[in-house]
């Protein structure tokens, strides 16, 4: 019984997600697709940052690899940019595999650096990837990018064609509706896999490495290999996320995969709560949806100036509110969005049975001591510098 109760919120969320295409218009469907693509990437990153304590700002590079691999693999071999003409499902898998291999190639660095140092080192990957995307014109289409063939399985295409008209319960199912379900399936798989990785032997080894590399090594964990493994897994997630982004856009170009994308992924998982899969999803929704909502509704406010008049206009206000929202979450919500909801649930149900979320902070939330103490040792975090440093 308690297990049913515990799974109830997740099951409800899935049901709601499955029902949404019947209600939403194109704007929200498109936003939903971007959000779900981001969720997959964020889950991958939270496994790396939250579980293994490594930080990456290179995820845009792996997302780009996944996106271009997908576009290249499904592309017609005679098209303007080169292609293999493979079945889309295979191409989707290939996107993850290629990104994982690239992640493995980076292991001489990812296995030796830790925490925020790795994060900064990976910024370089984003610029390398961009250089390649712009210059390898035959495969990537150069700066102007290339179109992405729609996803399909034999007899059914996830686009506006084949079948040209499809209605379910009176609602016409166009490409966006069809893609929604494809994305939903991928997100569920990614979340399920992520949970299992966290709970598996590998996941526990990674958590040990995060908490203390010395202790982990003493227990027989190959630290460098564990760190590289985390990086590879997370790269594969980013590759799949990139392929989904490619499908959601329908056309990809180097500009979509800049440093800002890497930074956005990081914002997602930090706001969501490091290490939490549900938090990664919540963070992705926050980053993708909030700016759009703010933009849409701030233009209705009466007191704002018209753009160009020098006063405070709606777009500027929306951007300021977005920045303020990020700051507010970090100042007031311990454990991010997931930590906050975890505490709420905690108050109602005293059973501490939630393995989905990071260890919730003790309720009620103790006020942060002035001078912001160091993080509790067991809490997911990114170490600045090793305490075991020998000068």
């Amino acid at each position: 019984m308690s297990e049913v109760l515990r799974r109830l919120p997740a099951a409800l969320a899935v049901l709601v997600a499955a029902a949404l295409p019947f209600l939403l218009d194109d704007f929200w469907l498109q936003t939903g697709l971007f959000t779900m693509a981001a969720v997959v990437g964020a889950i991958g990153l939270t496994l790396l940052v939250g579980v293994a304590g490594q930080l990456s700002l290179g995820h845009a590079c792996f997302a780009a690899l996944g996106a271009y691999t997908y576009a290249w693999a499904v592309g017609e071999s005679g098209g303007r940019a080169a292609g293999l003409g493979l079945p889309p499902l295979l191409a989707l898998v290939l996107a993850g595999v290629v990104a994982a291999v690239a992640g493995a190639l980076f292991s001489p660095i990812s296995g030796r650096l830790r925490g925020i140092y790795l994060g900064l080192a990976t910024i370089g990957l984003v610029f390398l990837a961009r250089h390649l995307m712009v210059n390898l014109e035959d495969a990537t289409g150069g700066f102007n990018g290339r179109t992405v063939e729609p996803f399909s399985v034999p007899g059914f295409s996830f686009s506006n064609e084949d079948p040209d008209y499809l209605a379910v319960a009176g609602v016409e199912f166009e490409g966006l509706h069809r893609l929604w379900y494809l994305f939903l399936v991928v997100v569920l798989l990614a979340a399920w896999l992520g949970r299992n990785i966290k709970a598996s032997r590998t996941g526990r080894a990674l958590a040990n490495v995060r908490d203390s590399e010395t202790a982990a090594a003493a227990m027989g964990i190959h630290v460098a290999r564990a760190k590289a493994t985390a990086f590879v897994i997370s790269s594969a997630y980013a590759g799949i996320a990139g392929a989904l982004m490619a499908l959601a856009y329908g056309r990809i170009a180097p500009d979509l995969f800049g440093l800002q994308l890497s930074i956005d992924f990081l914002i997602m998982i930090v706001l969501g709560g490091l290490g939490s899969i549900a938090g990664a999803a919540a963070g992705a929704a926050f980053v993708v949806i909030l700016p759009l909502v703010l933009t849409q509704y701030s233009s209705d406010l009466p007191f704002l100036a018209t753009p160009g008049s020098g006063g405070l206009d709606a777009a500027t206000l929306a951007r300021l509110l977005y920045g303020a929202a990020i700051i507010a979450v970090l100042l007031f919500l311990r454990g991010g969005l997931a930590g906050a909801t975890g505490r709420l649930r905690h108050r109602r149900a005293p059973h501490p049975a939630d393995t989905d979320d990071p260890p919730p902070a003790p309720p009620p939330p103790s006020p942060a001591p002035p001078g912001a103490a160091t993080p509790a040792p067991s809490h997911p975090g990114v170490p600045t510098r090793s305490k075991e440093t020998s000068p």
Binding site: F34, V134, T147, L166, S309
Partner: protein, 418 residues
């Protein structure tokens, strides 16, 4: 037991969904055409309003220039509405801010596509590149997306003038024919990575080949605001002229450094390269001495009725506003769309498809000086004109540019677009 229940539920769900499935389109029959003499309408048009969309950057790197265009466009349609509107309807402009983020642009496009009859503007290279294919699939008019040649492949996109490539080809022709550049000379091209800069480079390369010149290319990014290294490289290569496909910050740096190095050669810029506030920077004297610009849209100060109308409208709407090329451009873009809307109305088909069809029938359009020649949009693969305005930087002229005249060179005529 639990498993069996789950399986049964799943099966039942599938059956229920299948029962509700249909692949027969009930609306497949041709849509009602309305009675004889009545205008057919579709998305974005009601009995008393026509809604057009602007997808622009009001919070990102191009916010300031974009805001000028929004102000001018709003003022233009306010005037249209006071004069009776289009097709007996008022025009409303739905402005949304994508902040130069392609993801936001695509999502906002989805919200707009079902509410507007045409997109007056989609600003920005990466953002318009992301939106163009979607608008093409929906058959929606799209304008105000800059002058990159790659957009010419889209039937639904109305390029607001000639391309960057033809601007640059004209610059080379002007150098040879008017400024007496000798054959065999070298011309530096400093250009932004991307559709804008590479288009500019392509035009210059074509023209250089035609006129027996050599191109020295230097690629930069919008982040480069100190072009000392590039200027030194150009000097080392011994260039006799430079073409710049970049933004005002790069122009100020390049002009200043070249002059400081004693390399006082003509410096040509594409339309987005110049901004009047540059004349107040340390590079001001160098600009006044060496800078020319080739633009398909008329400079702010041109004494022609179309440009005067744009200026008057803008000065009434924003008395303290910036006085750049954005003002005549926004006015001209609004005029282009208005022409297409009126054409669609006259043809009795004020639907998104009807607007695109009317736009493609636009020929011999006189813009009273906003463009150098009448415009012809009947062939989607060709620019509407190949003539440009050539101007020089001048502290006396309003908007910082003094117009020398119109120009169309042989390499600009022969440049193979697309």
């Amino acid at each position: 037991m639990k498993h069996r229940i789950r399986t049964t539920l799943a099966l039942a769900g599938c059956v229920a969904v299948l029962a509700a499935c249909s692949t027969e389109d009930p609306d497949a029959a041709p849509a009602g055409g309305g009675a004889e003499g009545e205008v057919r309408t579709g998305t974005g048009v009601t009995a008393d309003t026509i809604t057009v969309g602007m997808l622009t950057d009001l919070s990102g790197p191009f916010a300031a220039g974009a805001a000028v265009q929004v102000t001018e466009t709003q003022a233009y349609y306010d005037q249209v509405n006071t004069e009776g509107g289009i097709c007996g309807r008022d025009v409303e402009v739905d402005v949304q801010d994508h902040g130069y983020d392609p993801q936001k642009a695509v999502a906002l496009y989805r919200s707009m596509a079902s509410n507007v009859v045409a997109l007056q503007q989609v600003l920005g290279g990466p953002t318009s590149a992301a939106v163009l294919p979607l608008a093409e699939a929906d058959g929606l008019y799209l304008g105000g997306h800059g002058w990159a040649g790659v957009a010419l492949q889209y039937e639904n996109a109305q390029i607001p003038g000639t391309t960057y490539s033809i601007e640059s080809a004209n610059a080379i022709d002007y150098l040879v024919d008017e400024l007496g550049l000798a054959p065999g000379s070298k011309v530096g091209v400093v250009y932004f990575v991307g559709d804008y800069g590479s288009d500019s480079l392509a035009g210059a390369q074509h023209a250089a080949q035609q006129r027996g010149l050599e191109i020295v290319p230097q690629e930069i990014t919008p982040r480069d605001t100190d072009l000392t290294a590039q200027a030194s490289a150009l000097q080392q290569a011994g260039v006799s002229a430079v073409i710049l496909g970049a933004a005002p910050a790069q122009l100020a740096s390049l002009a200043g450094v070249l002059a400081a190095q004693g390399l006082n050669v003509p410096l040509f810029g594409n339309t987005p390269t110049f901004g009047p506030s540059l004349l107040a920077t340390p590079a001001g004297p160098a600009l006044e001495q060496n800078f020319y610009t080739v633009t398909s849209i008329a400079p702010f100060s041109l004494d022609q009725p179309g440009v005067q109308a744009a200026r008057d409208l803008y000065e009434a709407a924003a008395p303290d506003g910036e006085t750049g090329w954005e003002v005549p451009l926004a006015y001209a873009q609004a005029e282009l769309l208005t022409t297409a809307l009126r054409g669609a109305c006259d043809a009795g088909d004020l639907t998104p498809e009807g607007v695109v069809a009317a736009m493609r029938k636009t020929t011999g359009l006189d813009t009273e000086g906003l463009y150098a020649t009448p415009l012809d949009f009947t062939d989607a693969a060709q620019p509407p004109t190949r003539t440009v305005y050539v101007s020089r930087a001048s502290g006396q002229a309003e908007g910082g540019l003094e117009v020398l005249g119109t120009f169309e060179g042989p390499s600009a005529q022969s440049y193979p677009v697309g």
